[in-house]
C-alpha cells in the first residue's frame, strides 16, 4: 500500500484477526485467539494484569513479533493495510510508532536531534523534509530545547519524550505505548497522557496504550481493551469497562470507581471530573456539605535548610535514620550541581515513610547517600542500626543461578523467610515471577541484618512498583507491614500516590533537593493537585485519600471519620496478602 493511502486512512489503523502466538520454547501461548480492530484516530487503553499479553500484542502490532522474537504464530495482523506478519518492522515503521517501557534502550543516537532525524534519514527523506519534521515533532512534544543535548545527559522523563518523538517523527497512523508513564512522576505522567490525547485529536493518530495505572489515562481513552491470560476479556467504552472490572477483576478498578462502588453510587465515574459531577448531581459534592473528616492532624513544620536542628523533627532516641543539614552534589554536564540542599530528616522505628517528589527532586540521591553510596558534601547521615537498600533494578542483585547460592546458611534462610520465599531456595532466580525476584533481591539486601526475629534497621526501597499491577502492589504493602512489624522502619521513594496512600503513615515531599512537605500520609496526599490520590482529588476533603475512607465519608455524612491510622493501613496490607 502506498504511503499516501496509509495517510488517507483507507484501512483500519490496526486489524488483528484470530492471532495466536507463542514465544520460542514457551509452554503456553502469550496470545490466544486475539481479534481486535482499531479505527483511524481512535484512542484505546490496553488494560490487564502483569503477563496478560499486553506487551506481546503491542509487539505483534509493530512487527517485532514474530519477526524479531521468533516463535509460532497463527492468524493475521494488518497495520494501516500492511500485513504485519509478512513485512518486517522496518517496513511497518512508516505506519506505526512503538514506545517501550525502558527509554534507555530506545535511543540509538548520540544527540536528540540525530535520534529524531534517524528514521527519516533511513527511509530516504531529503534534508529539508527531515529538518521540518524534526522541528515540528519537537514543537509538538515541547522538546525543542533538548535538540542539541546528548541523550546520555537526559532525565528519564526527557528520554521518554524523546523516544515518543522518535516514534512520531515519521507521522505514523498508529502509535503503540507500553507503560510509558511507569518511570515518570505524576506531573510528567499526566502531561504525557494529555499530550497523547492532543496528538490523537489534532493529528488523528490512533493510540494503543498499555498501562497499569488506569486512573491516569482512563478519562483520555475512547475505548478500553482488557486482556486476561492472553485473551481479550473485555472490549468496550471506559464506562462499561468499570462495570466489567467491578464484577470480573476488581484489581483493575480505578480508585474513583472503587469509591463509588463502596459507597453504592452509580454510574461508576470515568475520571475525576465525572466523579465530581456525579457527586454534585447526587448532592454529595464538595459544595454539598460533606465535612472535613480528616481531623486536625497538623503537618510537621519543615525547617529551613541548614537552620533548624533535626531534633525538632523527631526525638533522637527513636530514630533509626537521620540526616542533618545534608548536602550532596553530583556532576552534571561537567559541572557540580547541588542535588540535595540541606536536608533535615529523620525516620523512627516502626514508621512507614513515602518519599515523593518529581523526577530529579533528589529522592534516589537521598537513599543512596543514606546507604553510603554517595558521600555528603556537607552535613551528616546516620543509620544507627544499619540500612538495607533495594535500588530501582532488583535484577542487579541476582548474580547466581540458584536462590540458595545467593543466600547461604541460616542467615540466608532467615532472610528468605522474612520475604516469604523459603519455598524457592532451590529455584533459579530467572524462573521466579517479577514480584518474587524483587522479594529475593530484598532478601539479599536484608541478609545478616536480623537480630533474632527482629529487624532493627531501616529498609529503603527505590521505586519498587514500576510495572507492577495492583495485585503485586498489595503484596508489597503486606511485605512492608511485616517488616515494620519486625521492628524496622521503612522509607520508600515512589511516584505512585495510590501506593503511597496504601502503605505509608507519613509522606515526605522533596522539591529540588529540599523537603517541601512532611506530614501524615493522609494530610499530604490530600492537600495538592498532583501529589494527591484520585479519591482526594474527587472529594477534596483533608485527610481522605483511599476509596475506603472516601466511601465512609460519603456514607456517614456529618459523622467524624477516624484519621488514616496505623491500624487501618496494616489491615489493608494484610488483606492485600
Amino acid at each position: 500500500m502506498s504511503e499516501l493511502a496509509i495517510r488517507r486512512g483507507a484501512a483500519p489503523a490496526l486489524a488483528v484477526e484470530r492471532l495466536t502466538y507463542g514465544y520460542p520454547q514457551a509452554a503456553v501461548p502469550a496470545l490466544n485467539d486475539v481479534s481486535l480492530t482499531l479505527a483511524p484516530g481512535e484512542f484505546a487503553l490496553l488494560a490487564g494484569r502483569s503477563a496478560s499479553g499486553k506487551s506481546t500484542l503491542l509487539k505483534a502490532a509493530c512487527g517485532l513479533v514474530p519477526h524479531f522474537h521468533g516463535g509460532e504464530v497463527e492468524g493475521a495482523v494488518a497495520v494501516a493495510g500492511l500485513a504485519a506478519l509478512l513485512v518486517g518492522p522496518g517496513e511497518l515503521a512508516a505506519a506505526v510508532g512503538y514506545v517501550a517501557q525502558d527509554p534507555e534502550t530506545q535511543v540509538v543516537s548520540t544527540t536528540v536531534a540525530a535520534e529524531l532525524e534517524l528514521p527519516l534519514e533511513l527511509r530516504g527523506d531529503g534534508p529539508a523534509d527531515r529538518a521540518r519534521a524534526v522541528e515540528e515533532v519537537a514543537l509538538a512534544l515541547a522538546i525543542p530545547h533538548l535538540l542539541g543535548r546528548a541523550v546520555d545527559t537526559l532525565s528519564g522523563g526527557e528520554l521518554q519524550r524523546v523516544a515518543l518523538a522518535a516514534a512520531l517523527v515519521t507521522r505514523p497512523r498508529l502509535v503503540l505505548l507500553d507503560e510509558p508513564t511507569s518511570q515518570l512522576d505524576p506531573v510528567a505522567g499526566d502531561e504525557l497522557i494529555w499530550l497523547l490525547r492532543r496528538l490523537n485529536e489534532e493529528w488523528g493518530v490512533a493510540v494503543l496504550l498499555a498501562e497499569h495505572r488506569l486512573e491516569r489515562c482512563l478519562a483520555a481513552a475512547d475505548r478500553v481493551v482488557a486482556m486476561a491470560a492472553g485473551r481479550i476479556g473485555f472490549d468496550g467504552s471506559p464506562a462499561e469497562f468499570l462495570g466489567w472490572a467491578q464484577a470480573a477483576d476488581p484489581a483493575l478498578e480505578t480508585p474513583a470507581a472503587r469509591l463509588f462502588s463502596l459507597a453504592g453510587l452509580e454510574p461508576l465515574p470515568v475520571g475525576v471530573r465525572a466523579a465530581r459531577r456525579a457527586l454534585d448531581a447526587a448532592g454529595l459534592g464538595a459544595a454539598s456539605g460533606v465535612e472535613d473528616v480528616g481531623g486536625a492532624v497538623p503537618i510537621t513544620p519543615v525547617p529551613h535548610p541548614g537552620k533548624a536542628a533535626a531534633a525538632e523533627i523527631h526525638p533522637p532516641a527513636e530514630n533509626i535514620f537521620s540526616a542533618r543539614g545534608l548536602w550532596v552534589e553530583l556532576e552534571r554536564d561537567e559541572e557540580m550541581v547541588d542535588v540535595l540542599r540541606g536536608i533535615d530528616l529523620a525516620v523512627a522505628r516502626g514508621e512507614r515513610v513515602a518519599l515523593m517528589g518529581r523526577n530529579g527532586a533528589g529522592k534516589s540521591t537521598l537513599l543512596r547517600a543514606a546507604a553510603g553510596l554517595l558521600d555528603p558534601a556537607a552535613g551528616k547521615v546516620e543509620t544507627a542500626a544499619g540500612i538495607a537498600l533495594l535500588t530501582q533494578s532488583p535484577g542487579d542483585y541476582l548474580v547466581r543461578e540458584r536462590v540458595a547460592d545467593e543466600l547461604p546458611g541460616p542467615t540466608g534462610a532467615a532472610a528468605l523467610a522474612a520475604v516469604g520465599l523459603e519455598h524457592a531456595a532451590d529455584a533459579d532466580p530467572r524462573d521466579l515471577s517479577g514480584g518474587e525476584r524483587q522479594r529475593l533481591a530484598l532478601a539479599i539486601a536484608l541478609a545478616g541484618r536480623f537480630d533474632g526475629e527482629r529487624l532493627p534497621g531501616l529498609v529503603a526501597l527505590d521505586e519498587p512498583t514500576r510495572g507492577m499491577d495492583r495485585g503485586r502492589k498489595d503484596d508489597l504493602v503486606g511485605l512492608i507491614c511485616r517488616l515494620v512489624g519486625g521492628g524496622a522502619g521503612v522509607l520508600v521513594a515512589t511516584h505512585d500516590v495510590e501506593f503511597a496512600a496504601a502503605f505509608a503513615s507519613r509522606v515526605v515531599l522533596l522539591g529540588d533537593g529540599v523537603v517541601i512537605a512532611d506530614g501524615p500520609a493522609a494530610e499530604v496526599l490530600s492537600g495538592g493537585w498532583y501529589f494527591a490520590t484520585e479519591v482526594a482529588r474527587v472529594l477534596d476533603l483533608p485527610g481522605v485519600v483511599t476509596p475506603e475512607q472516601g466511601a465512609a465519608a460519603l456514607l456517614d455524612r456529618g459523622r467524624p471519620f477516624p484519621p488514616h491510622t496505623e491500624e487501618r493501613t496494616t489491615t489493608r496490607g494484610e488483606a492485600g496478602r
Binding site: Q106, T110, A167, D396, L407, G448
Partner: protein, 313 residues
C-alpha cells in the same frame, strides 16, 4: 557519571565541522606524530592537540587524557630503560635480572623511551579530542553508504558502551548493598552478569534499530552531506600541516637520534615545522561576531576599549 571522552554537543567550530573536515584536521596531527621522532615537533603536535581540545571546550577530555597519557609515557620510559641496553651514557648498572639479563640504564634509552611515550601521549590526546568533539552519529552516517554492516555494528557498539558502563556502575552498587549474610560477589560473577545483561540490552537496542527502519535500503540519491562554514578552515589547516610535515621530512626537519648518543636537530626546517604544527592548534578558535557586541555596549552605556573596537578579539 559520563565518560570524559563522550561526545558533547557544543556550539564550537570543531563540533560544527563535518566529520570529514574534523578527521582531516586531527588526522594530520596524528600523521605528524607517527611520521616524526623529533621531540620538538612531537611537543608541538602535543601543544596543538591540547590547544584544539581546549578551544573546542573539551577541557575534561584533555585533562583526563593527559593524565592517562603521562602514566602510559612513564611506563614506556621505565620499560624501555630496563629492556634496551644501548647507549653510551650509563646512568645505573642494575646487575643481572631474570629474563632480562644484564640491565644497564642509559640516558639514551631513557630519552628514546620518553620520545615514544611522548608520541603515545600526543596520540591519546588527539584521540580524546576527536572522541569528545566529533559526533559519532555523523561519522557513522557518512560511513553507512560505504559499509552498511560495519556502520550497523559500530552503531550498536557506540550505543552499548555507555549503556554497559551504566549497567556496570549499577551492578557494582548492588554488590555493595548486599547484606552481610548474602554470598559475596566476586569480579568474575559481576563480569558474567554484566555480559549476560549486555546481551539482553543489545537485543533491545537492535529491536529499536529495526523499528527505526535500519534494515531498509535508503535511496542514496536523497542523502546529502551537511556542510559547515568551518569545513574549509579545517581542511586547509589539515592539508597545510600534512604538506609541511612531508616537505619538512624531506628537508631534514626530523633530525633526531637516540643511539649511540643523543642528537637533536634544531635547524630552521625543524623550527619552522614545529611552529606551524603548534599554530595549527588555533584552528578551532571561534571568531566572535562584532555585530553582537555593539548593542550590549550601548545598553551598558560604556565605551569599549579601543583595541576591542578595532576588532582585536
Amino acid at each position: 557519571m559520563r565518560s570524559p571522552f563522550a561526545y558533547t554537543p557544543r556550539n564550537r567550530p570543531l563540533q560544527a565541522a563535518s566529520p570529514g573536515a574534523a578527521v582531516a584536521y586531527l588526522g594530520a596531527l596524528l600523521v605528524v606524530v607517527f611520521l616524526y621522532s623529533s621531540p620538538l615537533v612531537l611537543l608541538a603536535a602535543g601543544v596543538a592537540a591540547v590547544l584544539a581540545g581546549l578551544l573546542a571546550g573539551a577541557r575534561r577530555a584533555v585533562r583526563v587524557s593527559l593524565r592517562m597519557g603521562l602514566g602510559l609515557a612513564l611506563l614506556i620510559v621505565v620499560v624501555n630503560a630496563l629492556v634496551v641496553n644501548r647507549g653510551e651514557t650509563v646512568l645505573a648498572r642494575l646487575g643481572e635480572w631474570p629474563l632480562l639479563g644484564q640491565v644497564d640504564v642509559t640516558l639514551e634509552s631513557v630519552v628514546a623511551g620518553a620520545v615514544i611515550g611522548l608520541r603515545a601521549l600526543v596520540a591519546l590526546v588527539a584521540f580524546a579530542v576527536y572522541s569528545a568533539c566529533v559526533d559519532p552519529d555523523r561519522v557513522l552516517r557518512a560511513l553507512r553508504p560505504l559499509a552498511g554492516r560495519s556502520a550497523l555494528t559500530a552503531t550498536l557498539v557506540s550505543r552499548l558502551v555507555p549503556v554497559a558502563a551504566a549497567d556496570a556502575a549499577r551492578l557494582h552498587d548492588a554488590a555493595a548493598l548486599r547484606g552481610p549474610g548474602a554470598a559475596a560477589v566476586g569480579k568474575a560473577a559481576l563480569a558474567r552478569r554484566l555480559l549476560a545483561g549486555s546481551l539482553d540490552r543489545s537485543v533491545d537496542v537492535a529491536a529499536t534499530l529495526e523499528l527505526r527502519g535500519y534494515s531498509l535500503e535508503a535511496p542514496r540519491a536523497r542523502q546529502q552531506r551537511r556542510r559547515s562554514r568551518y569545513d574549509r578552515r579545517f581542511y586547509l589547516v589539515g592539508a597545510a600541516v600534512l604538506l609541511a610535515a612531508i616537505v619538512g621530512k624531506v628537508a631534514g626537519a626530523d633530525e633526531f637520534q637516540s643511539y649511540p648518543t643523543i642528537e637533536v636537530g634544531l635547524a630552521a626546517p625543524t623550527l619552522a615545522v614545529a611552529a606551524l604544527v603548534a599554530a595549527s592548534g588555533l584552528a578551532p578558535l571561534r571568531r566572535r561576531s562584532r555585530h553582537r557586541a555593539r548593542p550590549a555596549a550601548k545598553r551598558s552605556g560604556q565605551r569599549r576599549a579601543p583595541a576591542l573596537e578595532a576588532g582585536g578579539v
